[in-house]
């Protein structure tokens, strides 16, 4: 209405004159995106919590799953993930330093810090790829029962985990791969394990010092180790050999653990990857002097917010997947 139109619109609240939140449009939209993304990640993590509380007595122990460090042999629980966390926090720091240098209009410093941030991100994505590969390849191998429970093998005296290769017999049997022409209702076979179920069972019977460890957690929070007689009963329910993990079978324990691992760390890894791409674009813009001409480095600040958010999510993933 004419009566409401005055010359003072720049100053009035309804005219959009002032800035109640004191942030530019772009920055605020980045914050709103981050909020919605935070809710997506919380949805995933809470779903993980849901499944874990549902199967609280059989959930795999993360320390026993992630025990590898590249170029080193042996049992190093969590060291590598801790290293990855440190890399990501470090690249977050170089990002803040880039933003800080941007405020002071120091182009060369922004270039250096953006470059370091991209390198940190690449190291992290590479580490995650390695972590996935190790997880998929598997460690000791296990047997899955008809009910879908995982049976792992341990030494009866020392309680140390045994790999299938440590005791399985090599039998002169022919392993025929299931072909499409053989079945009315064809189900693809997926992968072939290094030992057949029969070889594992025969090897188990021949080695009296091997016993079975079930998924069930006992009072101390360790996996239950059965005696020899119980082990043989359990093994009679075995349906197949499992090596490594995928979306259907998981040698480390409950299959949902692998599903959530792939889904959550995968979604996070995708965020890191896209963050690296965006950082590279901004990095070249800085080199070309785009922001120098624009007069401010707010774009660096905005991608910085996204990059820190990725770090923030990792802090939670690290806790709920590897620590708790």
């Amino acid at each position: 209405m004419d009566a409401t139109v005055t010359t003072g619109t720049e100053e009035s609240v309804w005219g959009g004159g002032n800035q109640p939140l004191g942030a530019s449009y772009g920055k605020m939209m980045m914050w709103f995106f981050i909020m919605s993304d935070a809710l997506t990640f919380s949805g995933f993590l809470v779903a993980y919590g849901f499944s874990r509380f549902k199967f609280i007595e059989v959930w795999p122990i993360a320390d026993e799953v992630f025990t590898h460090v590249p170029f080193f042999h042996g049992n190093f629980p969590m060291y590598y993930v801790a290293f990855m966390t440190f890399i990501l926090i470090m690249s977050s720091v170089t990002m803040v330093l880039a933003v800080d240098a941007g405020h002071k209009m120091k182009q060369n410093k922004v270039i250096i810090y953006m470059f370091l941030t991209v390198i940190g991100g690449l190291i992290f994505v590479g580490s995650q790829a390695w972590e996935w590969a190790t997880f998929i390849r598997g460690d000791h191998g296990a047997v899955e029962t008809k009910a879908g429970k995982i049976l792992q093998f341990v030494d009866a005296e020392s309680g140390a985990r045994l790999s299938l290769a440590d005791f399985a017999k090599t039998l002169p049997e022919e392993r025929v791969k299931h072909e499409k022409s053989e079945g009315i209702w064809f189900v693809g076979e997926g992968y072939k394990t290094s030992f057949s179920l029969n070889e594992v069972v025969e090897g188990f019977k021949a080695n009296p010092n091997v016993v079975i460890r079930t998924e069930q957690l006992n009072e101390e929070g360790h996996k239950t180790v059965l005696d020899r007689a119980q082990s043989l009963t359990q093994l009679s329910h075995a349906a197949q050999v499992v090596e490594g993990a995928n979306l259907v079978h998981n040698e480390y324990g409950h299959r949902l653990f692998a599903d959530f691992f792939f889904f959550i760390t995968g979604f996070h890894g995708f965020h890191v990857f896209s963050g690296v791409i965006i950082n590279i674009i901004i990095f070249f813009n800085v080199i070309l002097g785009t922001y120098e001409r624009r007069g401010h480095y707010e774009m660096v600040e905005k991608v910085g917010l996204y990059w820190h958010f990725v770090d923030l999510v990792w802090v939670f993933v690290f806790t709920f997947f590897y620590l708790v």
Partner: protein, 127 residues
């Protein structure tokens, strides 16, 4: 606006001379917290794994609290929420916090209920 930084953390206990210095200070703090987490995770002190609070191991509560502490410093200092207007900060922080708490409450209670159904029901799940 964003050019004047608040340079003190821990409620003024620690004051830094410049923004760059504050960033390194926060990095040191975050690294210490992460090292404590990893050390506790590897050692798993029996005193903490055998005592429970609200149905969860004390150790897990410590991890969650330390995570929230880390999240606070990442959001406040790296994402410089500390330098933003109070109104923006409240919009950004309290909306998700409320929704996430709601979701956690509902889903974890439901999960515990299903756990009990599986446990006490007359159906065996290990056949």
């Amino acid at each position: 606006m964003a050019h004047d930084h608040k340079l003190e953390i821990f409620r003024g206990l620690l004051k830094f001379k410049s923004n760059t210095q504050k960033i390194w200070g926060v990095l040191v703090f975050l690294s210490i917290v992460t090292s404590v987490e990893v050390a506790l995770g590897i050692m798993k002190p029996a005193a903490l794994t055998h005592s429970h609070l609200l149905g969860m191991k004390l150790l897990n509560w410590i991890f969650i609290v330390l995570t929230l502490v880390k999240a606070y410093y990442i959001a406040w200092d790296f994402m410089h929420l500390r330098d933003e207007k109070t109104s923006l900060r409240r919009v950004i922080v309290w909306t998700p916090v409320f929704l996430i708490c709601y979701l956690i409450f509902i889903l974890l209670f439901e999960a515990d209920y299903i756990y009990n159904v599986y446990k006490d029901g007359f159906v065996t799940w290990n056949f």
